[in-house]
Subunit: 515 residues, 2 copies
Amino acid sequence: MHGSDYDSAIRHWASVVGPENVVTSTPQLIAAETGTFATGHRIPAIVRPANRSEVQECMRVANRWNVPVYPISSGRNWGYGSRVPASDGCALLDLGRMNQILDFDENLGYVTVEPGVTQAQLQAFLAGRQSRLWMDSTGASPHCSLIGNAVERGFGHTPYGDHFAHTCDLEIVLPQGEVMETGFGRYPGAKASPVYRWGVGPILDGLFSQSNYGVVTRMTLWLMPAPEYFQAYYFKCASEEGLPDLIDALRPLRMNGTIRSSSHIANDYKVLSALEQYPWAQSAGQTPLAGPLMQKFRKELRIGAWNGSGALYGTRAQVKEARRLLREALKGKVQDLQFLDDRKLEMASRYAGLYQRLTGWNLRRTLAVLRPVYGLMKGIPTEHPLASTYWRKRTPPPAQMDPDRDGCGLLWCSPVAPNDGSHAVRISGIASDVLLRAGFEPAISMTVLTDRTLSCIISLAYDRDIPGEDEKAMACYYELLDRLARDGYHSYRLSVGAMSAMGEDGVYRDVLQSL
Amino acid sequence: MHGSDYDSAIRHWASVVGPENVVTSTPQLIAAETGTFATGHRIPAIVRPANRSEVQECMRVANRWNVPVYPISSGRNWGYGSRVPASDGCALLDLGRMNQILDFDENLGYVTVEPGVTQAQLQAFLAGRQSRLWMDSTGASPHCSLIGNAVERGFGHTPYGDHFAHTCDLEIVLPQGEVMETGFGRYPGAKASPVYRWGVGPILDGLFSQSNYGVVTRMTLWLMPAPEYFQAYYFKCASEEGLPDLIDALRPLRMNGTIRSSSHIANDYKVLSALEQYPWAQSAGQTPLAGPLMQKFRKELRIGAWNGSGALYGTRAQVKEARRLLREALKGKVQDLQFLDDRKLEMASRYAGLYQRLTGWNLRRTLAVLRPVYGLMKGIPTEHPLASTYWRKRTPPPAQMDPDRDGCGLLWCSPVAPNDGSHAVRISGIASDVLLRAGFEPAISMTVLTDRTLSCIISLAYDRDIPGEDEKAMACYYELLDRLARDGYHSYRLSVGAMSAMGEDGVYRDVLQSL
């Protein structure tokens, strides 16, 4: 940034947060500048405040010396940019040390947290209190920040899957260092702050989501009461062509409240990359994976063209009726509709060996994939999906996975469509076409995020250690964004730097800039 | 406003919308300046644009001649200010002529409307198409604007009761005359605009709710699919003391999704004022109504201290299970838990006369009150609750009710509290104390608006034709706001002019002012 005095800023930050909390060593900065795709933005320093007043001071210092800052909570925004700031020369404001759980209410079902609080931390907190509340977890990692994911509008798989929709009562440090609270939170002692989103007067929460108007230093998240009974369901659809009927069959059940959570529908590539790494040997090094070899995997691993999962929550009678309605709706549209509860899962684990001897199906391997997905539907965080970022690597994922460090290439494109089969087909078609032509596997998931929307994630996984792949992948990502946008499908979340490629409309941009 | 050139503005508005759509006649202006409580704000003109581009031109004219404008949709913001602007000298921008239904989707369940579209109009539209979708209706009047109510964050009684939460895709004319769309609407041809709230980047919708940052000229409202089966429930609680247990018993059912809509709990005064006008003769002209006379009405009309209603939506089996759970939860906490469906209601109407002869209970009168409430839970608009604004009048409500014209005094105070019995008791206690001491009847309803919140409406009804009552009522309203705020209960919606009384926090106000 023109006129930025980095040295002065760094010196003053050190006096605010202590020199040990201002990182300027080259290896650490380079690590922070490294995401899962090519980015050119340099980071002059990482500043780690311990509390809100240090954040305020840090912002004042940033202002005084004209240094832009980019807040991160856990820095695990994989597929969209990891820790890398949206523009060059931003200091990272790393909020990871602010990891207090500030408030909790078992009856009203909420928890108030700082940005450094992770999914695993909340899970442990709830377990420690023998709480009857469930959190909602995103699939990325147990070490992801709850606030970070919510402000980016990430999602999970319980009835509280739309994260931003289940938050309120934000505390924000504004660019000049002042503190603001949203909703009723601005009235000291307001009883409804942690439970009511709207407050009175204009609603400002949305301004601080996917934005750089302020640093969110506190947020209340709502938690769902554990149901009396939980049952997951799984199904497959053998042919690609079955997708639209499947989506259209699920919609009425979602809209009438029978299905309260997000059904998740993944294509064969998505499931395969969760199970295995790229079959370099069997493909003799050829990419992309397609044709007979892919058919072979489908058959061997019992993967459908589309593979669905979801869950039912309620009393036993409520779940039973939902199961009846789901069976009825999916009849003739899917194969292998299975229902699984805690008892069945326990049995399956116990008898997996026997089962394989009898049927030849490696149930243990299936369970290894199935269990994390099952857990996610109960809000339990998992590291498992992270392994798929190693899809194209030549070595297996290490025990301590770190896609940024390990040169895993990953770009996520996340178009949102109306919850209607015809749109699902079109998005899948575009993604398959663009990615396969560019030499990548189109791993696609479609999540029925709300009653009316499909949130699609198209993963573009590659190996950053292969020269030329970064450029190829990025070109493919932009072509995909463009092709989807031309058909009216826009992404709910963009990788750092992609905002300008979206052809922002004039007035909206003007309003944003004036804020 | 300093430097406003009203004459020039009015002349130019006339050239934009046609002279017949600029109202400056004194009787019409006086009517528009008249709400259900004392207001001093003068209106120089009423301007009635026919479409968005006329709104844009009107805003440009307003800017040029420095005349503030106050948009109204149907002007039925009764209890909060009717058509009266929030400050003096504002021209009314009456959007009533913009009454087109612009888009509709039966499968995805939405309708896109202009601000002049009323509840009755949407109801007729849906009926005309034999749609299987239900709207959600607020209780005020069939002629209320859908957009007007949603931007003010009004509510109704179906699962879509929180109106603002079920909208997206706003089109807004900004103060300088530019047009902006929220969510994905800013991308031409975006398929998910009418179904997905958040779009990409910062979310701006909330800025245009309860605000004066722009004129909402279009909005998409979500509509719920009609359930296979509908059943309403009603109950009473004979003693005041039963309230907290009742609220606490309902909360888990609401939080776990068994009850999907807002239960509505009204005190004896609220029910009585829906049934009758003030008993001037029986009370020998004394106010407020209390003591033995109130006890007599309770007994005679079978009114509880608290009276609840709500509904169950689903398949027959889903409703049956919900009914079982509700019975179990309310056991020993309420009296006369009754379930009513279309067939039972029909039977009751048919045999009301016989029933009265057998039991002495005037079922017909009960049904007259019950039917509109029953309808509201199915989203059917009704004029019925409007009659209660005539509570303190000496003459019965006319066939064409108009509380503004008829000198009905009404001030609504609407504190929001956590969905917890202890808060319900405190709010009820404060309201009863403040209103009775001031000589008014504390008519209170508590709506379980969301899983975690009670939205209370305290109605202060009086007769504006009695000298001194306006002042007495306003003093009482401000005392009530103040007493509630001191205990941490803030209103979600304020009467025009009351915002300044709320003691706005500095930073929040600064941010709002900078926008």
